[in-house]
Symmetry: C2
Subunit: 319 residues, 2 copies
DNA sequence: ACAAAAGTGTTTGGGATACACCCATGC
DNA sequence: GCATGGGTGTATCCCAAACACTTTTGT
């Protein structure tokens, strides 16, 4: 079977930079290439796009095929189109990044192996993936100023320290504990989790799961997704594939472009509007810090409140 | 002549959202489509990518062909990949945006006509270009917080009012004149320009100008003659077509990813690094405000200073 | 002369920053 | 008990924001 066109066409592929956070440091998900070119090199999961799927759907499918990972949040980095970026010929790659809680992954399909690498310990990558990774880091660091993307990586409830470690890992800086908490609470998107009992119960259960025994979830494989679903509710992660069907619905009209409608008063502190898929919910408890310490209050991300603030261009989180 | 592949491939095209600023309001450049589909509709300039060019080069070429406009700055918006976005079949579009000073444009090639539209008076567009325009506005408003992109739209020297009108047009807000000037000058990326004087005269004059006695220009007294030379050195780096050849040069190493190297002190006010092509140049006089008024001091964009600040992650411009 | 725009500085309030002590927990 | 980390409050400083009169220029 072959396909013929009047003009030459590049192949179109996707690549997916998946960031994970284990409570201590930032990680990325790589696969070891099983085929030429770059056989034996590590690379981002990804592959060629089918004709009946959007780039987003392609990225999610390939991720599933090559690593067994199912996620529901993606952000596009852009297209990488250098003429010589792939030795096989002209290949245009559309790259995405995602933030997830690290779980067990396994190689499959094109990938002979798949595993998490600490961000400080990334090997030399195939193709132009070094460059793509750099772009992904830049983009994520930029996005985090405007969007509460970090909550993708945490459980429904988390301590302020966990949240702080996450921000420090992403931005590569250190914050003062008290000031960080103040700033976070001032945004208004956090709720205190009152239900101590439920939380304790959850904690107890998790303490006895194998997942807690290793640093990098190495033994997570013993804990099947099914079990987790049983524990915490099966619909937490259900097939929320980003649907590009709505892409060019005419929900835009020219009036909304000139918004906000010129205020008469000077208006500093304006923040631009933004769209970002926030898909809450997960099921795997995050590793606790290894050192003993006082047990912290738990917080949760108030999505409704955030949506409301965003609507009014009133959300701001500057570091 | 035809081209045959083992698997089906989408066509890859580019679209270019060109913003212009005439001193009063923001405009965009559109072409009237001369062929089906969407014949007679207005759309962004763009077209199909050749096999020996990057997407950037394609966008620039198509822009030249369809509107006669030659620019040297582009920023990628991303790939638009909805399966049904083009009635001709599967077409992936890589969109860019650009900021230019509006000049005469003419239709050509596929375009039966090309002209500027005020941003508040944009007609219904072909394909998913309404959606792309919305994304471009969002992106530009976001970018302007981190990059001095606006200077692309102004002449080499400009008054503070012109700059302010530009920012107000892009962000859709109004600023207080004095606070805007203060904030802009504090960034350190602006220089004072005075056209008619030669260097020595200028230096003498500047030292005795009332402006120099004030808080913000006080340090200028230390200004070296050399700096003033640079000020008039009309550094036009022309013809800098974005070159994607350098794309995956191995200038990245894993160490730079974990940067900045964990400071011991808390570091608020961190801004992420960013890359953006700043290409100065220009000869088209900008329309002056219609109303009579006092003649304003002129400023120019100090590119070297900006690059330096950017290198240290020290540039910040928040509105 | 008048209208429109440009030049100039001060005050104030709020938020970012820096900072220290006590308490809870696990070992 | 001791090491580790959680919980809490305050003083300071700097910058964003609000604000008004004078000067220049074109008509």
């Amino acid at each position: 079977m072959s396909y013929t066109y009047e003009y030459p066409r590049p192949a179109v592929a996707t690549d997916c930079v998946v960031f994970g956070f284990d409570g201590r440091e930032l990680q990325i998900l790589l696969i070891e290439r099983g085929n030429e070119p770059y056989k034996g090199y590590w690379a981002f999961p990804g592959g060629f796009m089918n004709m009946d799927e959007s780039a987003e759907q392609c990225a999610l499918r390939e991720l599933q095929e090559e690593t067994g990972l199912t996620i529901n949040m993606l952000k596009q980095l852009g297209a990488f189109t250098d003429v010589h970026r792939d030795p096989r010929g002209r290949v245009v790659s559309i790259a995405f990044y995602a933030l997830v809680r690290p779980t067990e992954v396994k190689g499959g399909d094109d990938a002979s192996e798949a595993r998490w690498f600490a961000i400080d310990d990334v090997p030399r990558l195939a193709f132009d993936h070094d460059y793509i990774l750099r772009k992904a880091m830049q983009q994520m660091r930029k996005d985090i100023h405007f969007e509460p993307i970090g909550f993708e990586l945490l459980n429904k409830s988390f301590t302020m320290s966990e949240l702080q470690r996450l921000y420090e890992a992403i931005l590569g800086v250190r914050f003062d504990r008290r000031n960080f908490e103040k700033k976070m609470l001032q945004t208004g998107i956090l709720q205190i989790v009152e239900d101590e009992e439920n939380d304790e119960e959850l904690f107890e259960k998790l303490l006895h799961t194998p997942a807690y025994s290793t640093k990098f979830f190495g033994k997570r494989k013993e804990m099947q997704t099914k079990e987790i679903d049983e524990l915490f509710g099966a619909d937490s992660n259900k097939g929320k594939t980003p649907d590009s069907k709505t892409l060019f619905d005419p929900y835009w009209n020219s009036k909304s472009l000139s918004a906000p409608p010129a205020p008469t008063k000077p208006a500093f502190n304006f923040l631009p509007p933004e769209e970002f898929k926030i898909c809450a919910e997960g099921s795997v408890e995050m590793p606790q810090p290894r050192k003993p310490g006082r047990k912290g209050r738990k917080f949760s991300f108030n999505k409704e409140k955030y949506e409301h603030l965003k609507q009014d261009n009133n959300f701001k989180l500057e570091f």
